[in-house]
């Protein structure tokens, strides 16, 4: 009886058994990459909004502070989305005929809320609190990116657990003086651009960060990385 398989099949089957390890590893790697990709996290996705509200225009163009609209960001877990009345503070006078702003005026007339589309959203089993981050010196743009250059709002970071933990394990590398939290152009200290706190000059982020950790009484890494800080 002649052989069904050619001799080379021996080598091929050995190679396949060996190669399968890599295939499995590659699949695992792919799954991980997909899991972190914007396709899953929605990072960078601009969502349709009822009014094309531009942070770029209102923040860097007109110089309005975040707190003018997001009034509760310093005191509560929720940053707050401005009610229609806040827009009408100015738009009852400015661009009163613009078609773009008709949904705002309609909402003001009828008393019905504008329905903004959520951009940043954590699953319901995660507890997040703005006020503590603001009061311990984490800047808005550390988490939300260059808001002052966003014609339409998008999510900057993955908002995944590894991202939160990355900072909670070493908060010092991201802290800044409290009065700079709302400054979208704040730059970390360097030797040419030092940051002065309480009359002390800091030339690099690590020394500034550890001074602020002491000054603001940031809790220990063990405390803020324990599961029940965020899952409660």
């Amino acid at each position: 009886m002649s052989q069904i398989f050619h001799r080379s099949t021996n080598t091929m089957s050995r190679a396949t058994i060996f190669g399968a390890v890599f295939v499995v590893a590659a699949l695992g790697w792919m799954a991980m990459e997909i899991q972190r990709s914007p396709y899953v996290t929605y990072a960078g996705v601009r969502k349709p909004q009822p009014v094309p509200f531009s942070h770029q225009h209102h923040v860097s163009g007109l110089g309005i502070d975040c707190r003018y609209c997001h009034t509760s960001v310093e005191t509560s877990s929720f940053a707050g989305i401005p009610p229609t009345k806040t827009c009408m503070n100015c738009h009852s006078q400015i661009w009163t005929n613009a078609q773009l702003l008709e949904p705002v005026r309609a909402s003001y007339r009828s008393g019905e809320s504008l329905q903004w589309t959520r951009v940043n959203q954590l699953p319901d089993f995660v507890f997040f609190n703005h006020s503590i981050h603001i009061n311990k010196g984490v800047g808005c743009n550390t988490c939300h990116g260059p808001v002052d250059q966003m014609p339409l709002m998008y999510q900057q970071e993955s908002l995944q657990m590894e991202w939160c933990l990355d900072c909670h394990r070493a908060p010092a590398k991201n802290l800044r003086p409290r009065d700079q939290v709302f400054n979208m152009r704040y730059q970390q200290p360097t030797s040419t651009n030092p940051v002065i706190v309480d009359g002390q000059t800091f030339m690099d982020q690590m020394s500034l960060g550890s001074a602020l950790v002491k000054k603001y009484g940031v809790r220990s890494v063990g405390d803020i990385t324990s599961c029940n800080t965020c899952h409660r």
């Binding site: 007109l62 959520r118 699953p123 979208m184 009359g199």
Partner: protein, 251 residues
């Protein structure tokens, strides 16, 4: 088409988070009922197929701040207080504190003592809420009105407003004035009084003389030195600490 995306996302069954996000946590606007049924059917099938994948913790049956509720006619999950009820701490029985008036005349005194902290908080809040229109020095030349307001805000340094009672400023903030909107919902009563104190400080500073400076304090002869990048527009530029402490004492 959002539902197409939803189905494709769900059926790719890469993992639970995708499923959860596409199931309404993504903020994709809700579709009409017909599509809703179809999408729900396909999603349920997908859930059944992707075994042990549970999303009930991602989307819990509770209301998050400002989320939508189909239970109430106006779809707001945040309810206004029932008419005729008063929440704890909201009785507002201190009428001067909440209206700035005694009867119908504005009073000319602060309801609490003015300290340096009060003025600093007042300055911060003034710069957030008033400066866009009234400018940081209060001369009424803010940027916003120049973009199309039918009237410019008056300067706080003209005769009439120099003499105005403290309670008057509080009242303007609480109830608005002419084309100026009210700020009662954006600024707490406490903070409104602190802004009043800061406006008075601004007014005094415009007509101060050397004799008004207490002995032993210095007045900087130069404008404060700014350092590095200017602020973002939303925030003040960083002032060199040496000159900052001088201008602080002066306030």
């Amino acid at each position: 088409m959002p539902w197409l995306r939803q189905i494709s996302v769900a059926s790719s069954s890469v993992g639970c988070p995708i499923l959860a996000r596409s199931l309404g946590k993504s903020g994709i606007p809700r579709r009409s009922h017909a599509w809703g049924f179809l999408a729900t059917g396909i999603l349920l099938a997908t859930i059944a197929l992707s075994s042990a994948c549970r999303i009930d913790m991602h989307v819990q049956p509770r209301q998050n701040p400002l989320s939508r509720s189909d239970f109430f006619a106006d779809q707001r999950s945040e309810r206004p207080p029932v008419e005729g009820t008063v929440a704890r701490g909201q009785l507002h029985d201190d009428t001067y504190f909440y209206s700035g008036k005694n009867g119908s005349t504005p009073g000319d005194y602060m309801p609490f003592p003015v300290t340096k902290e009060v003025l600093e908080r007042g300055r911060e809040r003034y710069n957030i809420y008033c400066a866009p229109c009234h400018s940081r020095v209060g001369d009424g030349n803010g940027f916003i009105p120049s973009r199309g307001f039918s009237r410019k805000p008056p300067s706080f340094h003209d005769q009439r407003l120099q003499k105005a009672a403290l309670g008057y400023f509080y009242d303007v903030m609480t109830n608005g004035f002419g084309i100026m909107p009210d700020y009662a919902s954006q600024i707490s009563a406490q903070d409104r009084w602190k802004i009043v104190a800061y406006i008075r400080a601004l007014q005094l500073s415009q007509n101060a003389t050397r004799a008004d400076v207490p002995a032993g304090q210095t007045v900087p002869s130069l404008a404060p030195q700014f350092r590095g990048q200017p602020g973002s527009g939303a925030t003040l530029p960083v002032v060199d600490s040496a000159s900052a402490s001088h201008s602080e004492e002066n306030r």
